[in-house]
Structure formats: C-alpha cells, structure tokens
C-alpha cells in the first residue's frame, strides 16, 4: 500500500484576544491509498481543523505553528496559494456535511459538474458532460441522463449527497476529506452513502479521511481510526484494535457513552466528566437550599408520586394521555383569500396512549411528524382532526386552549436545542423562577430563590449557576437548566423533543442518566422523541414508530428491538450503525 498522506507533529494555533488557543497539538496520522481513516472526537476536539489544515483552508487567524503535512511526499505546509489552489480540487477533494448548502442552488447539477471538470481538465463541454454522467451513474443516481439537468432542490438529501460525492470525484482525486458526510442524513440513507464511500474507496484506490462524531459510523466503515480530544491524539490504530480493545480510558469512556442498540442498560457508566466546576462555585450557597429540598417540594401535593413498586400496576391505570386519530395539516387555506390549498398532512390518523409513569419513545426519520406531534400536544399547533384526552378530561386543541388551562402547567417540554431554548438575556435564576412565579407555586421570593438553587443542585449544577447567564455554560449544562425549568412547574407529563441530539455523546449520556433518575424519583410520564433508535432503546418502555406522519408500529421496547413486526421498523433497525462488541 502506498502512503498518500503523512501528517507529523502538526500543531495549529488560533491567536485570540484571550491568548493563543491550541486547536491541534502534535497530531500525527497517515492515510494510505484505498484506505478510510476515521477521525473521531467530540465537538472542539479539532477533527475539522485537521481537514482544513490539509486543505490549506484554515480559517483566519489560525495558522500551522509547526509540523509537516506530506502529501505524496510533498510538504504542504507553507505552500503558496497558487500551488495550493492547483492541488485542491485536483488531487484533494472534500465532501461537506450538509448537501443543502454545499451545492449552488441556482445552477443545475450539469453546470456545476461540467464547470468543475473543465476547470481542471482541458476537455470540451460534451466530453465533460459525458464524464459527469458516468460519475453520477457510478455514485448510484437513477435516470442520470435526464436528472443531470435538474437543480439541487429537486433531489432528496441522500441523492444530493451522492451528487456532492460525484462532484468531489470529478477531478479524480487521490485523497478525499469527508467532514461528517452523513450527519445531516436519516439513518436509512446514511447506510447507503457509507456503502458508496466504501465502494469508491476500494474501486478507485482513493485515500479517505472520514471525520465524524459518531463512533457507530467509524465502526461501520473505517479501516483505521484516530481518536482526538482537545487537539491531541488520544489513541490511534486499526479500527478493530482501537474499538475492540481500547487502551486509553478516554476511548473507553467515549464508547461507554454511546447508547447501545443491542441491550438496555440501567445507567451509563464510566462517563466523562463535564468540565470541572470552578472552586468558588461549590462554596456559593443559598441558605437552606439542597437537592433534597427540591425533591421534597416536587413530591409534596403530588398524588401521582410513586416509586418503582407501583410500576407493575401501570397497565391497570387509565392512560394519562390518549390521542385518537390526530391529524395535522399545514398550509391549508392559511393566509390567502384567493388560493385555498389543501396543504400537507404532517400527521394523519395517529392514535396512541401514554400510561402514567411510562416513557413512551417516538421514533422516526426527519419529516415523519415527531415534532408536530409534540407541538400538537402542547397546543402550539392546531390539529385539523382528532381528539386528545389528558387525565380523563378533553385537552382543547391549539388556539382553543385557554392561557390559564391547567394542562399548561401539567405538561412541560424539554427542547432539542439548548442554545435556543433558553433566553440568552436572562439569568438562570430568572429562567427557572419564571414558571414558579407564573404558576404561583411559592409563597414568597426567598422561597423561590431557595427552590431555584435546590433544583439546580438536583439536576447536577452548582447553585451558583443561578447568577450566571446561559451563554456562560456548555450545551450539556444548558440542557440541565432546561430540564430544571421544566421540572419546577411540577409537571405530570414531560415531553422531551430530541433532548440530546444537539449534544456530544458523553454529554448525551449524562443527560439521559439525569432524565432516568428524575423519571424514577418523580414517576413522571415522558414522551421521548428521538431519531436515534439506540437512545430510544435506553430510555423508553414502549416505542411508537412514525413514518410520513403515519403510525407504523407500537410495541414494547424489548419486543420491538428483538422482533420488529413492520418492514419499515426492520429497515430502520438494520440501517442504524451500531457498536457491537
């Protein structure tokens, strides 16, 4: 095997006004032709910086401080921009994460591909077009001869990523850097794209650097893997060796944090700690506040509070939430006085029940109507048909639900993106105390303050967090604050809409542990929405599968994962990359 790329001792620095930030420190790795080299790590580990450094596209003011990047023997560090420009695209190509934005929406596929081919090869338009057609065929696009003249928006996400790959292959490069090529795609498409990358790599003898945060993907297709953390190489070697018997505790912890598809664990163990709390944070206390105080407060006046011994009787109780034939239509005769359209059905004929104290997992690909379901339950979306019953009484839909309706307190929601779900201009104390004051749950301000501090401690945050603003926290800590905000309303029913998909795996494990603990302590009923089957397996008691707004299958978690009934469920399970060691 010929060595294509050899990075040795690469350091990249970003000078900022707070001092010099070392994005990469002494990173060494090499890629051979016909090999996929995986780069894995959490956000901020420097994965993408390696890719940009090789491409010579480090964002200003970043620079290579030391080390070498040898590409077929030639050192790329310090190459002038003209030489780099010739190399880039010609011999090194890149596949980006989001096929939505990496194609020009105003040009047809043919135009974009022919332009790229002719930029690097002296061929006439017809030859270039023929080459483009061949490449698109090679990437598995159907009806290439007619579809080549379509615009990017006329393709689905997976198809578009195939076009992006074809575009990267235009110049017959020796090395391709794929930066999270499947992160924006659904699982069923992800598998196909990964297979395509593998096939191309072998058939064309290309070296590929695959950058991803998903250890499942690494396990699926890479030959060798380098684990990065905070700009340093933690571990490197063949994928089998590194993932099969990880030597470093960080690699072990990273793998332990990945939710398993094959069995349910009570808790994630051996997980990586969040950034250490500052010392003065731990000494700052509100008088009388403690996690125990929050637990007691949340459990008083709370008839549903039951412990695990009450769980067997779950099936005998009436459902806390039941939904019958729910239908949501978007865009039907909305604004227009003139053009009344029939709109798009986001949900049709969905019926389900959530038992008290149960975690119901909702699974589906993007566009399946998972979030619409959550929005219909909380009243953000007006259903066009169907009934919802909450605690034996009818739940008024959408606008008809009054602002003072009791369900507004009893149903709380944790959102996907902790960066947009907390108001950045308010302190954490303000954010958490808002529901307390709004629902009038405490008698006076000092009690509210005590409660806010206590709840923060309950969700694993220092009490001092209450005087800070959301932007001072990491994503995981923000999500803890969001959970605390939902909790202080003393909800009966909690909706978690992809609560961990914006977070790193190790943080995801922490948040999932937290939700499990809270669910057990307070006997909450939870509607847990996720596109990640492995997360659902860890969290849910029962599973509901949605596809294109319709309910495909409802089953107990164990029976669903062991013997899925519907073909779509089987497909989903088959295509999910997993770690099975």
């Amino acid at each position: 095997m010929t060595q294509l790329l050899a990075i040795s001792n690469l350091s990249v620095k970003f000078p900022t006004r707070f001092g010099v930030f070392d994005a990469l420190e002494g990173v060494s790795l090499d890629v051979n032709a016909g090999e996929i080299h995986g780069l894995v790590g959490e956000s901020g580990a420097g994965k993408s910086t390696v890719g940009s450094a090789v491409m010579g596209l480090l964002q200003s003011p970043g620079y290579v401080a030391s080390g070498e990047i040898r590409f077929t023997g030639r050192n790329l560090v310090g190459l002038d921009s003209d030489d780099y420009h010739r190399l880039r695209g010609d011999r090194i190509s890149m596949i980006f994460q989001d096929p939505q934005t990496s194609l020009n929406p105003l040009l047809t596929i043919a135009t974009q591909m022919i332009e790229t081919i002719r930029q690097h090869r002296k061929v006439d338009v017809h030859t270039a077009r023929q080459q483009a057609i061949n490449l698109l065929k090679e990437t598995g696009l159907n009806d290439v001869d007619t579809r080549i003249d379509d615009y990017p928006h006329q393709f689905s996400g997976g198809m578009r990523q195939r076009v992006v790959i074809a575009l990267a292959l235009c110049t017959e490069p020796d090395l391709i850097i794929a930066d999270e090529p499947t992160t924006a795609l659904d699982v069923s498409v992800q598998k196909q794209i990964l297979d395509l990358i593998r096939t191309l790599c072998t058939a064309r003898n290309i070296g590929i650097i695959l950058i991803t945060h998903d250890i499942g993907v690494i396990n699926e297709i890479t030959d060798r893997v380098t684990v990065l953390r905070a700009g340093r190489v933690v571990e490197s070697g063949t994928t089998e060796a590194v993932l099969g018997s990880p030597a470093e505790p960080y690699t072990k912890a990273l793998m332990a944090a990945v939710p398993r598809l094959d069995k349910r664990l009570e808790r994630f163990k051996n997980i990586i700690d969040d950034e250490p709390t500052e010392l003065d944070d731990t000494h700052w206390k509100v008088e009388g506040a403690s996690a125990g105080y929050a637990t007691d407060w949340l459990l008083t006046n709370n008839e549903r509070a039951h412990t695990s011994d009450a769980l067997p009787s779950v099936s005998e109780r009436p459902a806390i939430l039941s939904i019958q034939d729910l239908e949501v239509t978007f865009g039907a005769s909305g604004l227009g006085w003139f053009n009344r359209s029939h709109g798009v059905k986001a949900l049709s004929g969905v019926s389900l029940q959530v038992m008290p104290g149960e975690v119901l997992g909702i699974v589906g690909e993007s566009g399946s109507g998972k979030s619409t379901l959550a929005k219909a339950i909380v009243g953000l979306v007006n259903p066009s048909a169907g009934r919802m019953t909450f605690r034996d009484s009818e739940l008024p839909p959408g606008r008809q639900r009054t602002r003072a309706h009791p369900s507004r307190r009893e149903i709380q929601m944790v959102f996907q993106d902790p960066y947009s779900s907390l108001n950045n201009r308010k302190t954490v104390e303000h954010i958490i105390s808002e529901p307390i004051q709004f629902y009038g749950l405490t008698d006076n301000e000092s009690q509210t303050r005590k409660l806010v501090a206590s709840v923060l401690e309950l969700v694993g945050m220092p009490q001092r967090a209450m005087v800070k603003y959301p932007h001072q926290f990491s994503g995981g800590q923000r999500q803890r604050v969001a959970v605390a905000r939902a909790l202080v309303a003393r909800p009966e029913f909690l909706i978690c809409d992809e609560p961990t998909s914006a977070l790193d795996v190790s943080i995801q494990a922490q948040i999932l542990n937290l939700l499990k603990d809270l669910q057990q302590t307070f006997g909450l009923s939870i509607l847990f929405i996720s596109h990640n089957l492995a997360v659902i397996r860890q969290m849910a008691d029962r599973v509901v599968v949605l596809q294109n707004g319709q309910l495909v299958e409802t089953a107990g978690t164990e029976s669903f994962f062991n013997s899925p009934q519907e073909s779509y469920s089987q497909l989903l399970l088959r295509e999910t990359p997993s770690l099975t060691f």
Binding site: L335, L380, T402, R409, F415, S421, F438
Partner: protein, 305 residues
Amino acid sequence: MINAWLRWSRENELAYLFFRNPVAIVAAIIAILCIGGAVLSPWLAATDPYDIASLDIMDSLIPPAWSESGDARFFIGTDDQGRDLLSAILYGTRLSLLVGFLAITFASVLGVTVGLMAGYFGGRFDAIMMRIADIQLSLPAILTALLVDGIAKGLLPRGQHDNLMIVVLTVAIGLSLWVNFARTVRATTFVERNKEYVQSCEIMGMHPFRIMFTHILPNIMGPILVILTVDLAVAVLLEATLSFLGVGVPANQPSLGTLIRIGTEYMFSGEWWIVIFPSAMLILMIISINVLGDFLRDALNPRMR
C-alpha cells in the same frame, strides 16, 4: 482605574472593539462635545439669543473676532439680528437635538411596538401594518412633515401654533421614521419567534405582550440600537431641513436649520460666517453620530468581523 477599564473592555466585546477603533473613538468624542455643549448651552453661552431684549441691532452682521472689523465679544460673529452666533449655535443645537431625541423616541416606541406585533402575530395584522408602512415609505419624509404641519396649522389657533411647534415637528419627524424600526423589528422578531425559548413561553400560556416585551425585545436590542443612532442623525437633519424650509421652529427661537436658512440669505453678500458655522456644526454632529451607528452595526453583527 486604567486596569479596571482594561479588564472591563476585555470582558465586554463591544467595549473591546470600541477601544481598538480610532475612528469610532474620535466620532464619540465629537458627538459627546456636540451633545454636551448643547445640553449645557444655558451655562456655556455668553448671551441668551432667545432674549430679544438683550439683542442690539447695532451689533448685527459683525464678522468673526479674528477678522479686521471683528468684535472680541462675538467670537464667531453675529447674525442679522445682532445675536452672538456661537450662543445661537449652542442654543440651536440644543433645540435640534431636543426635537431629534423626542422624534426618535416617538418613532421607536411606535415602530418597535408595531414591528413586534406584526412579527409575532403575523398573518392579517402583519399584512395590514406592513402595507401602511409601505404607504408611509412612499411618502418622502419632508412631505409627511409638511402634511402634519399643515394639518396642525389648520387645527390649532394661530397663537397656539408657535408654542406647539416642537410637538408638531416631533410628530412629523417621528411619523416619517417609525417605518425603519417597524420593518427591522418585524424581521428580527420573525426569527426570534420560532426559537424554542419563545415556544416555551407560549406553552406556559404567557400573555403575548409579556412574551414580546420581556422576552423577545431584549434579544433584538442590537439592531434597534443601531437604527436609534443612525435615525437620530436623520431626525436632526430632518429638523434642520424643515426649519430651513421655514416649516420648523419659530424664528425667535432659532434652531440649526433656521440659522442656516438665515445664513444663506447673506452667503453671497460677504457675510459667510452666518451660514458656514451652523452648517459645520450640523455636519460634524451628523457625521459623528453616523460613524458611531456604523460602528455599532458592525460590532453587533458577528458576520461583519
């Protein structure tokens, strides 16, 4: 003291960028001098140009002190009424800024409220408000001001009109500027509205106005701040224009625009100072406020850096 400043500027993004931008610093100094001079004019100015009894017609049209026939009492000369030009400029700036600030307050309160509601509620309310804004945009600001002034003249008795001129000017200028606020606020509210923190407020059942003013408004202050500075300059300029055209404040209380208008009459007869100094003051003030507005826009927009 300096250390404290440095520490503050290191933590505060805006202050950091400000202290590294010499143009912004100079503009800020000029703006502060102009505004400070205007505010403190009753104490700084040598004479009170509004006090007709103190004026002496014999002092009229005296050139600046450094020229041959200058008078040490009047540093940059006098106008046709015998007013000390420096005092008149300070008082005039004060009047111009007063009208500017009042108008901008009126415009921002109206525009922000309309913009928030249009962006938040959307639908028909939004459509109607934005068509009204379009109509407003199609009328030049001066035309709006003339219209309001005309209506006020018709409605108010003659004597009252002069006293209420400042109010009329404020309303006229405010009316022609609220659209900027409304459109920008509407656009940014659209973005904020779909964020999850707003949805969480809606789920709680919070009143829409509370969501708008306590949750969304603090998050869209950046663009509002920028328009406030830029439009303050526009408002001062509009006031000057209207006064120049004779629609503005009465002649016995000259604003910058009135002074410039008086000056133009003497421009070609050799008395250049009457028009040059008020104009220079106006230009300096407008440019410095505009530069500050530009700086704010760039500093608050992460993509411009």
